[in-house]
Structures are given as structure tokens and as C-alpha cells.
């Protein structure tokens, strides 16, 4: 087996089957058509990685939150698609796609409509009558609005005053005012966050983000929205340059009511439920899977995550193993429960031996299933990636899939029985032995997340072991035990640290991030696997506050 160092810890990065070319792991990355080898730099001294100086598009959720924050009212920006990310997270990756022209046109329409809807209400904040709106009055207003929309204490309002000056005589004050709102929302300063650092400093080495950039990055990461006034004030005075003050602000934000909003969004994406509206099931098989039930499922997993973060001290282990949840009237039949507890706000115990943690809640299960089928292999693939950071590559070209018929299996064989035949084929086994234990364990849940003990009348065998891991290799009888094993596994804790890092930094981790990840893991473990504490460690790290010098 291949052993890699991870700071002070040693761990098995990927199993022996790597030799068969199955696993990409963190390194499923191709340059010039060649698969990078994960072990190549082992033991070599490497410079700690810093993200490059960059601009970074806001996620649709952040953009929506910020417009709401600026307007002081809920806004409906759907269907806003600024950009998408392809590694399981929605938060736009740094190297990601940029604005598509027709999406930009949609965005333009969308914000023009918002501006028209909110203009009169926002005009009441002007401090002057709309009919008497002049540059001075508008200047104050745009400066205040820009602090939120552009997330900076220094707003250059001149372009917007000029726009107003051009349009007001021709269109009237109201339409000119609307146009200003539209232009501000469409501005690249609204759409992109900036992480350049003060590149003019004479010193060599990494560049610390400016006070303003730190305020912006911190607020977006922790709160998923724009900095509040206190943060902006400190940013304006350059005070966040002082690590002590910066640290105090981290703790203030984490302790605030919205302090876990960024983490909650990351967890929703990690659990695969952030875009649950798009999940569809075969109506002939699952007529009950309607919008009401979907809303209940999303609401349940949200309450569950919130409960873990607030009542269960943010424990990752509890997130993965807790056997209680918030079952409302619509979800009760999914669980086979008669009770309902949503009104009380207290979790109820789930049927014994059937559920453990967020990945076994109906929303997460439905999201990782197909429309009519369980999506057996896909589930294994997703869980390997999310929990163990093992990326199984898709099969190479020209793979012959065997018909179980030809393998002498009965027609009503369980899916597990049929898939086990694949392990006998050398070409398939390398990857499928990694996928199968998790895939098989999850077979006790149907495509909408109901527990089931049989398939085609035959008992389902969910037992197995993740024998290719070092710290999660205890045999388990079912998914509940599997998640208990996983919840206590250092490999899972390490992987979660990496997932959080990727989410916060918008890029993959690599060998050069190992020291930082090991330190964060140490803090995470010594704080009882508190995910909030992990977030704290990550935003306090130099990797968060510094960028490469250009």
C-alpha cells in the first residue's frame, strides 16, 4: 500500500489498486493527457501553496444574499445562473467558467426588473424627493448601497452619477434612478470578489490581502454575504492588517447569528441537496414525491444540520451518525413513523438500526439516486468522493458490460448479486471493489430514501468493509454501522478538512497544502471535530489571508 505523509500524520492516501489506474484521488487532474502521479513529490520539500492573486465570481447564492442585504428586502433572482462548478460544489471555482453572453443577458433582464420593482421603495431612503434628486443626494445613496453591493468602504460613485446625469433629462428621474440601480447590480464590482493583496509592498514572499479584501473574503466565507458595518469600518481604517484585530473579527462573526451561514451552504452542497428542486423521480413509481414532500425533505436536512451545528457542537461525527431527526407529517410515512415532531422543534429518534446521519436522510438519499433506480454505483462513487476524497475514474473506452443472464444469475437477483459479478472481471474489479462496499450498504434505501430490507423479494445484504482504508476498515453489518465507522475514521476527518479547504479556497488542495491541512486537522480533532472550529482554523491561516506575489 502506498503511504503518504500528511504533515505530522501518516495515512494511506489511496489504496493499492491505484496501480491499476483506477483512482484519481486528489490528483484526478490531467495535463497533456497524462494522469498526474500522486506520489511523485513525496518527501520532497515543497513551498506552501498559496492561491494566486485572483478575482472570483460570486456564487448565485452569495449574489442573491447581497442584493437582498443591499435592498433590505427579499428578492427573486431566479433563474439566475452566473456560473457553475463541476466538482460537487456550486460555489464558483476560481478557474471556472465565466459569464456566458446569454446568461449575462438574462442577468441584465433580471436585475432591470428588480430595479423597477424596488426603485420607489429604495427612493424613500434617498433623503430627498425623487423629483428633486440631484448628484449630491444620489451620491450619498449610491455610496451607501455600494458599500454592500461592492463589499467595500471605498465606493467610486462618479460613474453612476454620470449615468444618472445622462439619463435623467431624457427619461425622467425615476427611470434614471432605476438605471443606476441596474448598472450597480451589473457592475463587475458586484459580480466579482477581489483577492489581489497589496502587490506594491517591497517585501518579497507572499502578499497579505488588503484590509478591505480581508473584510470581503471573511464575510463571504463565514456569512455568505457582504461585510457588515463594523467590518467595513475596520477595513476602511486598515485595521484588519493587524492579525489580532482580524482574529477578533473572526470570532465576532462566528459568534453572530449568521456565523455559520457559509458553513451551512457548504454542507448543503457537500450533501448534494443545495439544488434539490431539480431532483425528479419517476412519477409512476413514486407518485408521492411531489413538491410538498421535496420541501419537507429539504427543510428536514436543514434543521438537522442546524441542530448539529448548534446543539451538537458542530460535530462532524454527529453529522454522520446521529440517529434522530425532524420528521414532519409528510416525512413520517417515508420513515415508516406515525409521529410528527416538526412543530415541537425537537428531534425524534429515527427507526432503530435504519438511519445514521445526514447521508441517510431522505433528501440526501433522493439526491444521490436515479429517477427509478437506487443508482447503486453512483451512490458509491459520490460517497467515496465526499467522505474519503477518493475519485474513481469513469471506465475506459470500450468496456463490455456483462449481462447477468450470461453469468447464470436468476432474473430476480438483487442488484448487489448482479454487481458482484462485475468484480470477477479483471478490467472492472479494480474500481468496483472500491465502489461496492458503500454502494451495497446504501441499497437498503430506495430512490426516495425509504428504508427497505428486501429487493425483488430477496433480502438485501448491506454488509461489507472498506478494507482498502486504514482507519475505516472495520467490518459493518449495514449502513448505520458503516457511518459509525466512517464517523470515527481519521481518513474521513482528513477528507472533510480537504473538502472545507476546497470550498473556502475555490481550488483543489495539493501536496503543498499538506502542512496547513495537517494543522487544521489537528485543531479539528482536538476541538472534538467541531466543523465551526475547522472553519475558524482555515480562515485564520496564512493561506486564507495571503496570496502569491505576482
Amino acid at each position: 500500500m502506498r503511504v503518504q505523509t500528511f504533515g505530522n500524520h501518516r495515512f494511506f492516501l489511496v489504496p493499492a489498486v491505484v496501480a491499476a489506474g483506477c483512482v484519481g484521488g486528489i490528483v484526478d487532474r490531467v495535463s497533456g493527457g497524462e494522469q498526474a502521479n500522486p506520489g511523485d513529490n513525496r518527501g520532497a520539500s515543497v513551498t506552501p501553496a498559496l492561491s494566486p492573486a485572483r478575482i472570483w465570481q460570486l456564487s448565485p447564492q452569495q449574489y442573491q444574499n447581497i442584493v437582498e442585504q443591499a435592498f433590505g428586502a427579499p428578492v427573486d433572482l431566479a433563474p439566475l445562473a452566473i456560473t457553475e462548478r463541476h466538482d460537487g460544489f456550486l460555489n464558483p471555482a476560481v478557474g471556472g467558467l465565466a459569464v456566458h453572453e446569454l446568461f449575462f443577458a438574462d442577468l441584465e433582464d433580471s436585475v432591470a426588473r428588480l430595479a423597477a420593482e424596488h426603485a420607489v421603495r429604495l427612493a424613500s431612503r434617498l433623503g430627498c424627493a425623487l423629483s428633486e434628486l440631484d448628484r449630491a443626494c444620489l451620491g450619498k445613496f449610491t455610496s451607501t448601497l455600494g458599500r454592500v453591493l461592492f463589499r467595500t468602504p471605498k465606493v467610486d460613485v462618479a460613474p453612476f452619477l454620470d449615468l444618472y446625469g445622462t439619463l435623467a433629462p431624457k427619461l425622467g428621474n425615476e427611470h434614471a434612478f432605476e438605471s443606476v440601480l441596474t448598472a450597480m447590480m451589473l457592475s463587475p464590482k458586484a459580480l466579482f470578489r477581489v483577492e489581489l493583496g497589496d502587490q506594491r509592498t517591497s517585501a518579497r514572499g507572499p502578499v497579505r490581502l488588503t484590509s478591505e479584501e480581508l473584510a470581503e473574503s471573511l464575510a463571504l466565507t463565514l456569512l455568505n454575504r457582504a461585510p457588515d458595518e463594523e467590518l467595513l469600518r475596520l477595513a476602511a481604517g486598515g485595521q484588519l492588517d493587524d492579525p489580532t484585530i482580524y482574529g477578533q473579527q473572526v470570532d465576532r462573526l462566528l459568534g453572530s447569528s449568521l456565523g455559520s451561514a457559509g458553513l451551512q451552504q457548504m454542507l448543503a452542497e457537500w450533501l448534494g441537496v443545495a439544488t434539490f428542486g431539480g431532483v425528479d423521480k419517476n412519477p409512476a413509481l413514486f407518485p408521492m414525491f411531489n413538491d410538498d414532500l421535496k420541501r419537507s425533505m429539504v427543510s428536514e436536512i436543514g434543521l438537522f444540520v442546524d441542530h448539529v451545528l448548534t446543539v451538537r457542537r458542530g460535530s462532524l461525527r454527529d453529522l454522520l451518525t446521529l440517529q434522530e431527526s425532524f420528521v414532519d407529517r409528510r416525512l413520517a410515512p417515508i420513515y415508516g413513523l406515525a409521529t410528527q415532531s416538526a412543530q415541537t422543534g425537537q428531534p425524534v429518534p429515527l427507526p432503530a438500526g435504519q438511519r445514521a446521519g445526514a447521508f441517510t436522510l431522505p433528501a440526501a438519499l433522493a439526491a444521490m439516486s436515479e429517477s427509478s433506480l437506487t443508482g447503486i454505483i453512483y451512490r458509491g462513487k459520490v460517497l467515496l468522493e465526499k467522505l474519503l476524497c477518493v475519485v474513481v475514474r469513469p471506465p475506459d473506452m470500450d468496456v463490455e458490460f456483462p449481462d447477468p443472464d450470461s453469468l447464470g444469475l436468476p432474473r430476480d437477483a438483487t442488484t448487489r448479486q448482479r454487481m458482484e459479478s462485475v468484480e470477477k472481471q479483471a478490467a472492472c474489479a479494480a474500481c468496483h471493489v472500491l465502489l461496492h462496499p458503500m454502494s451495497f450498504a446504501m441499497e437498503t434505501y430506495d430512490p426516495i430514501g425509504r428504508y427497505r430490507a428486501t429487493e425483488n423479494g430477496r433480502p438485501i445484504d448491506p454488509s461489507g468493509s472498506l478494507s482498502f482504508t486504514r482507519t475505516a476498515n472495520m467490518p459493518f453489518r449495514n449502513a448505520v454501522q458503516m457511518f459509525q465507522v466512517l464517523g470515527s475514521s481519521r481518513e474521513v476527518h482528513e477528507c472533510f478538512v480537504r473538502q472545507a479547504f476546497r470550498y473556502i479556497h475555490g481550488r483543489e488542495d495539493d501536496e503543498r497544502d499538506r502542512t496547513l491541512l495537517a494543522e487544521a486537522l489537528g485543531r479539528f480533532e482536538s476541538d472534538g471535530l467541531d466543523m465551526r472550529s475547522l472553519y475558524r482554523a482555515l480562515v485564520l491561516s496564512d493561506a486564507f489571508t495571503h496570496r502569491e506575489r505576482r
Binding site: 494566486p52 460613474p159 466579482f192 433506480l373 469513469p394
Partner: protein, 470 residues
């Protein structure tokens, strides 16, 4: 003249404020030159090979050497003289998931640069549709249009088309967005030519001024960011793309749609306009797949009738897991009972391995349905008359896919179909058989040549040479 919201609503309807129509570019007068076009109709997962190829001997259609009897191509029977069926082409897609790699390779003519989205861009260069659009769409207001139907899953096989940098072009999936954004301004004249009035023209002038001023403000800020931030190439391209997006919206702000001339002899225009502007819309779900596809195909034809663009790619399925279950199709078992096909094309190709019984019978139904859709588009293009010839005569319509056979993911015997005569440079009505397995880059290169774009080869260097294929 001051413009109040009430004025706008009264004159143009509430929709004018919500979905601000893009104003017209001037359509070129119908010229004497041939309008060469290129359409790719992409349907993943290959075909049942045993039912695809014509019966008989390769040769010319009019020699009566082959027929489509008993094949899944039967819906194309009326168009036998318009199509070439080239047997024996191999898709050169390189390693990786054959659906992902096959989809990237099909139009780019090259292996993917990256096998996952973790490393972008995924393609090595632009796709042939993107390339051809630059040559063929010089006179049209729109360039390449990339359309898709219910491509719900984010994976490489979602993307057929790539720009010069190898970044994917996002397919437009809502026919309504497509219509509102691209067609509406031209379709205004359909059915009611010359309805424009001077007063509204003035309103449009002001609306245009407003929109252009907003865009100018945003564009200046974008350029300023590029200048001040000293970004490297990767960071810069994000703002460059934003700038391009702003410019593309501005480009559509050139003329008053009220004075856009009526399109003479545009038969389908009024019908499409009526359908697209009707109060009830086809819902965006898997069950509506056939309806959404038809709306798209009608818009493809209308785009050519109105000469909005000359290059279009439409993808109607996603290779690999995640495609739409084809429940709108019925298959019959041996006892004659019919039932809905409750799996995606991809899953059906894998049969029992994906829990789909009787997959061969179901594939027969799916393949036939796919070719009915393709035949519908062939018929639509043939019905567009253009000075003695038809839109089909003047272009190339390519049926493309990612794999030869869905079950085995084979790369050989690609079931491609080429319809049209490329303005006379292509002799249609043939069944061809190649024994040397020519790589598909040669086909792409040939497309370029037939459409009058002279390049040594398209795609992977060294792969597309060897002379004309068709």
C-alpha cells in the same frame, strides 16, 4: 420626451419591462450568394448496429442498390436522395469515459485536454461548429447557436461545442429564452408586416438609450478592472468574457424592431410566433421532452428562414448517466402489450446491467424515434425555398453521436448521417463504405471544405488529412 413606466406599459405591454426585447440588427437583403449552413444534430449513445445500416450494396441511391427497409433509418426513406450514409468511420476520442471523451471529440476533432472539469479548459481547441460559424455567419446577426434539450447533469458529455480556448459553450435549453432573446425581434414582423408607428419608434429610441448607457457604464468598469488589476491571463479571461457578453448585448441594440422589415415568404414564422408567444408554455420537465425538442427544431428552421444565423448545434441527449428517461415512448412485448420505456437512452443501451429488461426491443423504438426527429428537421430544411434551391440543398446537416454502439461504447462504425448538398459541392444520395476506418477528423475537415472554408485539416494535427472523404 419623458418616458414614464405607464407610457411604456401602455404602448408595449407589461412584457416590455420584464423581458426587454433585444432590438434588431438590420437583416441583410436576400443576396445572390448561396447561404451555406451547418447544423449538427447530436444524439448520444450510438445505435443498435444491427438495425442501422442500409440493406444492400453501397453505391448511389438512384441505382437502387440499397434500401432502408427494416432498418431504424426508415423515417428517412422520403429523403434518401438527400442523405449520405458513410459506413466505417471511427471516432478518434482518446482515453477517458467514452461518452465524455466522445462528445468532446465529436466536434472538436481532438481528444479532450482534461478528463474532468477539475482542470479547465477540457477541450484542446474549438469545435467545428464554432469554427465554421466565423466563416459562415459574417452577414448574420447571430453567430453560433448551441441548443440542448433537458441536459440536466453537469458532466462533460453535456457539452458538444467549445470556443477557441477550449472552454465549453453552454447550450441554451429553454426554447422560450431562445425565442425571447434571439428571435422575437425578427418575428415581430411575422404575420403583421409593417405595423410600426413613429411614436413607438421614439419610445424605443429612449429605451435603447437607457439600455446602452447602463451597459456602457458597466463595460467601462470592466475595462478599468482589467487595466488596474494587472491580472494574469487566466484571471483576465474572466473579465474578457464579461466584456464580450456586454458587447454581444449591445450589438443587438441597433435598430427599431417596429421598423424591421417583414420577411417575405417566411412560411413558418407566424405559426412559430404564435406558439412561442402563447400564454401557456410547455413545462420544463422530462415528460415534455418531445415537445421541447419540437419547439427547438422549429426554431432552427425559423433561424434559417429569417437568416438569423447559419450554424446551429442541437444536442438532445446526455451521454452516460443522467439522461432523461424516455417515458413518452412505448414498446410492445411479444404478447403485444405496450408499456412506457422507463429509462434513459443510455441506461437502455446497457440493458440488464442497468436493470432494463428487453433492452434490444426498447432500443429499436428509441433509435427509430431519434431518426424520426432527425427526419423532421431534414424535412423542415427541405421545405425552405431559396431561389430555386432549398436550405437543405445549401447546407450540411450532420447526425452525430459519441459512440458507435451504446452497450460496448465502441469507437468504430460510427452511425453518422450527412444530409444536404453544401450548396452543390456535395453529391448526396449515397451509401458509402470505408474499409480503412477513416478517423472522424477527416469528416470534419471535409465539412469545412465543402462549405467553402479552406483549411489543411480540422482537429488533431495529422488526423484530418488524407483528402476528401465524402
Amino acid at each position: 420626451m419623458k418616458l414614464s413606466r405607464r407610457d411604456v406599459v401602455a404602448r408595449l405591454g407589461a412584457g416590455a419591462l420584464l423581458a426587454w426585447p433585444i432590438l434588431s440588427a438590420t437583416r441583410p437583403a436576400a443576396g445572390a450568394t448561396i447561404k451555406k449552413r451547418f447544423v449538427t444534430f447530436f444524439s448520444s449513445s450510438g445505435v443498435r448496429q444491427d438495425l442501422f445500416w442500409p440493406k444492400g450494396t453501397p453505391g448511389a441511391f438512384d441505382a437502387g442498390l440499397y434500401s432502408l427497409d427494416g432498418t431504424s433509418l426508415q423515417p428517412l426513406e422520403p429523403y434518401l436522395s438527400e442523405i449520405i450514409i458513410p459506413k466505417g468511420i471511427k471516432i478518434d476520442r482518446g482515453p477517458g469515459d467514452s461518452h465524455d471523451a466522445g462528445t468532446v471529440a465529436a466536434l472538436t476533432g481532438d481528444h479532450p485536454r482534461s478528463l474532468t472539469f477539475r482542470s479547465k479548459p477540457v477541450a484542446r481547441g474549438e469545435s467545428v461548429d464554432h469554427f465554421l460559424a466565423k466563416a459562415l455567419c459574417k452577414e448574420t446577426p447571430e453567430k453560433l447557436l448551441v441548443l440542448g434539450v433537458r441536459l440536466r447533469v453537469l458532466r462533460m458529455s453535456k457539452y458538444t461545442s467549445y470556443d477557441e480556448r477550449g472552454y465549453e459553450v453552454e447550450p441554451l435549453q429553454s426554447p422560450y429564452t431562445l425565442y425571447d432573446r434571439v428571435f422575437k425581434r425578427f418575428a415581430r414582423s411575422c404575420g403583421s408586416p409593417g405595423s410600426g408607428t413613429g411614436g413607438q419608434g421614439q419610445v424605443w429610441e429612449l429605451l435603447r438609450l437607457q439600455k446602452r448607457s447602463i451597459l456602457d457604464t458597466v463595460r467601462v468598469q470592466t475595462a478599468e478592472m482589467m487595466r488596474l488589476y494587472g491580472l494574469d491571463a487566466n484571471e483576465r479571461q474572466k473579465l474578457e468574457r464579461m466584456e464580450e457578453a456586454i458587447r454581444s448585448v449591445e450589438l443587438r441594440l441597433t435598430a427599431d424592431p417596429e421598423t424591421t422589415p417583414a420577411a417575405p415568404g417566411v412560411s413558418g414564422c407566424a405559426t412559430v410566433k404564435q406558439t412561442m408567444e402563447a400564454g401557456t408554455r410547455v413545462s420544463d420537465d422530462d415528460a415534455s421532452f418531445p415537445k421541447l425538442l419540437k419547439l427547438h427544431l422549429d426554431l432552427v428552421a425559423l433561424a434559417f428562414e429569417l437568416d438569423i444565423t447559419r450554424v446551429i448545434t442541437i444536442s438532445l441527449s446526455l451521454g452516460g448517466s443522467g439522461g432523461a428517461p424516455m417515458r413518452w415512448l412505448q414498446w410492445r412485448d411479444s404478447a403485444g402489450r405496450s408499456a412506457a420505456i422507463d429509462a434513459s437512452h443510455h441506461n437502455v443501451t446497457h440493458g440488464l446491467e442497468r436493470n432494463v429488461a428487453n433492452y434490444r426491443e426498447k432500443l429499436q423504438v428509441i433509435d427509430r424515434w431519434n431518426f424520426e426527429q432527425f427526419a423532421y428537421l431534414v424535412g423542415k430544411l427541405k421545405a425552405i425555398e431559396e431561389g430555386g434551391s432549398t436550405a437543405l440543398d445549401n447546407g450540411i446537416l450532420w447526425y452525430a453521436t459519441d459512440v458507435g454502439d451504446g452497450k460496448s461504447h465502441s469507437s468504430t462504425l460510427m452511425p453518422f448521417i450527412v444530409a444536404g448538398r453544401a450548396g452543390g459541392s456535395l453529391k448526396s444520395g449515397r451509401y458509402m463504405a470505408f474499409t480503412d476506418q477513416p478517423r472522424h477528423q477527416r469528416l470534419l475537415t471535409d465539412f469545412c471544405h465543402r462549405l467553402g472554408v479552406d483549411i489543411p485539416e480540422f482537429g488533431q494535427p495529422g488526423a484530418g488529412g488524407g483528402g476528401s472523404l465524402l
